[in-house]
Symmetry: C2
């Protein structure tokens, strides 16, 4: 039954996601990860090299899962409209609270000036989203309304910010929105979708 190196790596990564999300790259404990994975901690070093590399591997894998899970286009090729997309992003973060925590740890620990690992891949991913937004908005904006529409980058930024904030800083969101933040996610989702709709007009 042993001899399945891919499985041991996966077990370690699975445990590492929880541990790093909870305690960060510094606070995470190698022993806890190994214990939770049911694997001996020394296995980490031949496979990943060390704590920091394991953290990087965790982030990498989680980002790939996100990219695959929330597409901007339907399976049939039709573009998803932006408020609906915002709703899906909300759902994803609601169901996978680990990811944003990991990204926050990364933001706090990383050198602000230095690029993060896998930056070009991530940037390419967002460039795609951006192009999709532009395409979807062509002709969709309310031409009856005066004024220029928002730039696609700004719209996409707003989606991420409005969705992300309450997951990234729940203690601050609670100050403004009250306990509803935790208690009524459906209402929060609707509110965010509504705001994005107003911005997209």
């Amino acid at each position: 039954m042993a001899w399945d190196t891919a499985k041991t790596k996966r077990l370690l990564l699975d445990a590492a996601v929880d541990e790093f999300a909870a305690y960060g790259p510094e606070g995470a404990r190698i022993d806890r990860i190994a214990a939770a994975a049911g694997v001996n901690k020394e296995r980490i070093y031949p496979y990943f090299g060390g704590k920091r590399q394991l953290f990087a591997a965790v982030i990498q894998r989680e980002l790939e899962q996100l990219a695959a899970a929330v597409p901007m286009e339907e399976a049939d090729g039709r573009a998803v409209d932006l408020p609906e997309y915002a709703g899906r992003v909300f759902d994803y973060h609601h169901d996978h609270p680990h990811l944003l925590r990991l990204l926050q740890w990364e933001a706090l620990y990383g050198d602000a000036a230095a690029p993060v690992a896998g930056e070009e891949r991530r940037a390419a991913h967002y460039a795609e989203k951006l192009a999709a937004v532009s395409r979807a908005r062509r002709g969709e904006v309310d031409s009856a309304r005066a004024g220029v529409p928002l730039a696609p980058e700004e719209l996409l930024y707003a989606v991420v910010a409005l969705v992300g904030w309450q997951f990234a800083a729940p203690q601050l969101a609670r100050m403004i929105l009250g306990a509803a933040v935790d208690e009524d996610p459906a209402a929060r989702r609707a509110a965010v979708v509504d705001m994005v709709r107003r911005l997209a007009l």
Copy 2:
């Protein structure tokens, strides 16, 4: 010359702000704080009790400074309009990048369920802001436009989220907005103000 206990406390707090903002409550080093303050590290214990309490004291002081620095009403009592308020919040965080980092560390380390220190004071502060928004919006919304206006809580939330995101997660914002995030803060400010204006209509 000596004998100024208030000054030593202040020196320690000043140094602690930088250290905690940079490294977080775990990564911060007592020795570095003391060295930066030009004070002996043992002084921390009689004054603050320990590392964690020092961190709490730091957050407390920074929040009080924020509350004092960005009022919702002018000195003459007139209400500040919301987009303008968003601009001021932006300016504050741009000039004081420590605060959001501290709050992020707090969010990541704190037990999500447990209330944070000084929660009631902070909540009261936001309740005031909320009341001010409601007052300012009375009659200001564009009644010619169809549809119900956004709730004040949502508006205030949007202000904080849209402003805060790029400071809290600069590496993510850069993926969408490009290098402009760091290079052209004035343009970012204008963009955020514009989005808030659209939402406030």
